[in-house]
Symmetry: C2
Subunit: 348 residues, 2 copies
DNA sequence: CTGAAAGCGCTTACAG
DNA sequence: CTGAAAGCGCTTACAG
């Protein structure tokens, strides 16, 4: 119960009264600037009735202009909130790492929420009054965006989908380029019969990767055999399923480009069951570069999405927006890189 | 900037003054009960100097008894804090999942901190006034424990190490049993020459797994060849290193029990390089059952630590302590289970 | 609808 | 080391 508040005791921060730093806007100041009394400001702040609409508006404007904050908001450690649709995502931990790095450097707490837990998640987030919210994977929808905007809390989409979400500032990866690079790598090794296992139809990032694949194939004058184009969920199981189907073809592909690493591991298993060796009988390229990619046997050649960097960039963007500064760019696309390991080789 | 405080406006909660609910303990009440003045209580609350040790103690006792809370604490959404030494841990995300599940069910926010980020992490945590703190992997040390105790915030160790940390309530896994079960599985398949790759010396959980291995070997009357006992860090690299050394022995083992899944994947690579097949030439058992264990080739037989359940149990324990109730047990050890997959078979 | 007055909870500056 | 007094920020009850 010591309840030491560092904003009062520590670091020589000049303090006047409870929890309020010198020079910060008080109700009295707002009242003066709005040409009303302190009680009226108080009513506006607390949403009490008995204030004319026009007066209320004027007061709210001054509150915004002066960046008024309740005294208790000061004692709260400022925090950055990250909303995941579900923690199931294998990408989650790496993203968190990037966000945490930036947040820690700025002495900010990080909170996180699973939006799948129910529709009330935003209420909880709003009560915590984060300085900004990062929504991963389309976790925040239009309605949530509006409520956050109304509270003056900036929202940034961390957005492996590449889907433009109602003009929300966002960070993503260069998916098309990744698809292009992966396919070029296989073409340069001498492959021509290259299959691709894509993602679900609505998933724009998957579409971009596919288009990159097509572009590389076209540029090399390599034919895209429609029977080599498969798509499904981004899961190990679908990798196994499509891998088996591809290897069972009369003329199977000599290489497969997978829309993510999980699919690639499924293809590994399909090859194992079919008695084909990777990379001798089949080259495989993934996408993401999750940690286990380099521990798989053989180590997986894949396209690296810089998830930690993306998290860090999203945090930077969010915190810039939180200060009211206009950031240089509202959409950031981070480069993807091909990581060539042991799952690709020239065809026999 | 509307800053509506739901505790003031909403739900008919009776309110007297700013943010304080009717009947809640005020500084004045505490002062009266402690036989001091309000200013003295204020000094204690804020850790200011100029209070006799004895007086401070008396006041702190009353604060605890009366469950005093700062008025701003009321407006804050209650939160449960999880402290990780580093997010590097592959176990982190699964633990978080379990914690989040319990916390969400009780409408609690979850915050998380990396303690590796610096010695100031506890200050930040204390400012957020979590209802409880869960320290993963010995993240909180004696000093931190004392400060949390002084603030009346319960601490629970989630403790794969099995190390009893200064009588802090904790949740762990049945490591000894896991080691026993894994080794028995190999013995039952007919192996006798079974190697073990253990963890670092200070790591008690690793020691428990090793002891379980020894117990199973002894019970089966199988000799433990000292050259088959190796130890190092719990990394892929050390798995590779020890795996190569073991396979290079004049009489190599027919099976290896690894202290975690990462080591096992390193042994996979060692086998691959030595041209030995798993499980035909070498059986491998891991420990943890991380998600990628079932995606490795062949799918890894391993001892499952129920990390999500452990996170959930730690959260339950923490929240029980937070209500002031004495929990039924202060140390919980969750069962481990052998998951037999494709990396183990009878020796040739 | 508005604000002067009263009052609450807490903190600070300072006298003893 | 302690607390009476003063004061701050905010809210409430109520008069106009």
């Amino acid at each position: 119960m010591t309840a030491v508040d560092p904003s009062v005791t520590g670091k020589g921060v000049p303090v006047t009264r409870r929890g309020r730093r010198r020079g910060e806007t008080t109700v009295a100041v707002v009242a003066r600037l709005a040409g009303v009394s302190a009680p009226t400001v108080s009513k506006v702040l607390n949403g009490h009735p008995g204030v004319a609409a026009e007066t209320r508006q004027r007061v709210e404007q001054v509150l915004r202009e002066q960046d008024y904050r309740r005294p208790d908001a000061v004692t709260q450690a400022p925090m950055l909130e990250v909303a995941f649709q579900a923690l199931e995502s294998h990408l989650a931990i790496e993203i968190m790492r990037g966000v945490a790095q930036v947040a820690n450097a700025r002495q900010l707490a990080v909170g996180f929420t699973e939006t799948a837990s129910g529709p009330g998640w935003l209420d909880h987030v709003l009560r915590r009054r984060p300085v900004a919210v990062i929504a991963v994977y389309g976790a925040a929808m239009r309605r949530e965006h509006a409520r956050l905007a109304a509270s003056g809390i900036p929202l940034v989409a961390l957005d492996p989908t590449g889907e433009p979400v109602h003009s929300v500032p966002s960070v993503g990866a260069a998916n098309w380029n990744g698809g292009l690079t992966a396919t070029r790598h296989l073409l340069e090794l001498g492959h021509r019969r290259i299959a691709m296992i894509g993602g679900p139809p609505g998933f724009l990032a998957a579409r971009a990767r596919l288009d990159g694949y097509r572009a590389a194939m076209d540029a090399a004058g390599a034919e895209v055999d429609p029977s080599l184009l498969r798509s499904g969920t981004l899961s190990y199981e679908d990798g196994l399923r499509h891998g088996r189907a591809l290897l069972a073809l009369p003329t199977p592909p000599t290489a497969v480009f997978c829309c993510n690493d999980l699919l690639a591991l499924g293809v590994y298993e399909a090859a194992r069951r079919a008695g084909r060796r990777i990379p001798d009988d089949l080259s495989v390229v993934g996408f993401d570069d999750l940690e286990f990619a380099r521990w798989s046997g053989p180590a997986l050649t894949t396209v690296r999405q810089p998830l930690a960097d993306m998290g860090a960039a999203a945090a930077d963007l969010a915190l810039t927006l939180a200060t009211g500064t206009a950031p240089p760019r509202l959409r950031l696309e981070l480069a993807t890189t091909l990581i060539a390991r042991a799952s690709t080789a020239p065809p026999r």
